[in-house]
Symmetry: C2
Subunit: 174 residues, 2 copies
């Protein structure tokens, strides 16, 4: 007789996927270790075999979310950079400040950073200059909180301004 597939063994992948499903559907506020365990049809402590604590699991969930962003392929480097930032915002915009702090050091963060640095290198910026620009841009992209009464294009208005202002004041090799 076949094993009940819904009762298959736990794994990091299955746990992260279930967590991501909860966050996508109901937001971070609805996410708890107990709710996650319920969704996996398992007792709360089972998850702790695979992740030391909630913090470690959330990092993995954030990394998975960041891993879903499709790297843009615009030919124009500025358009590519901007598209990357807009995607980063939708993928990472809901994570809290303490986790943003570590965002660049994850595999997913390095993937976004590499794509950004490639665009900036194409524009003629050296590594150090690109790093400064990227931090400012990503910080705005994932940090802009949104205010009551914001126009639809308010976020992009600031993003375009920051792109202009940050890129202009960098030492270019072009």
């Amino acid at each position: 007789m076949a094993r009940d597939t819904s009762q298959q063994q736990l794994s990091p992948e299955r746990i992260v996927a279930a967590a991501l499903a909860i966050v996508d559907a109901h937001g971070w506020d609805a996410f708890s270790m107990r709710k996650l365990a319920e969704e996996l049809d398992v007792w709360p402590m089972a998850v702790y075999r695979y992740f030391r604590d909630k913090d470690e699991l959330v990092d993995a969930v954030v990394a998975a979310a960041a891993g879903r962003v499709e790297l843009p392929d615009d030919v124009d480097w500025r358009a590519r950079l901007k598209a990357l930032l807009v995607e980063a915002r939708t993928a990472l915009g809901t994570i809290d400040r303490d986790r943003s702090h570590r965002a660049l050091d994850t595999a997913a963060g390095r993937r976004l950073t590499a794509a950004a640095h490639a665009a900036l290198a194409e524009a003629g910026f050296d590594r150090r200059a690109a790093d400064r620009a990227w931090r400012a841009l990503l910080g705005y992209a994932i940090g802009y909180p949104g205010f009551a009464g914001d126009r639809r294009d308010q976020f992009e208005f600031g993003l375009d301004g920051l792109l202009d202002g940050v890129l202009v004041r960098l030492p270019s090799r072009a």
Copy 2:
């Protein structure tokens, strides 16, 4: 016989002051209704006479924090605007996204906004243009999360860039 002054009646002011003291000393993570009650030497539910729920109280605490920022008096409007943004960051930088959303509609938010609009009006921008610029600038100032490995001037590097980029692309009346 004199009343024990430490047992004086509760009031919104006393509650908010105690809450602010906890947040200043130990951060938002350490703040809870139960911890606050303990600090006030009162039972947890006593605070609910003055604030409907934790959310309403936290709004009041944030407003009090914002109320503490001293409005800068630099003669140069750009320096005044930048100083205001740096102060706003230190005062409001730790509040979460959901509360940032409402920040502009508080008395404290309107005070900061009025000072910013005054600086921008002096620079020759009309109300609508000043509003767009201020939202972008404040959003960056309170939203920039900080990343591991940021240089000391990283935040200000982005802020200067945003000031340049946002102000340059606005329709000026000057």
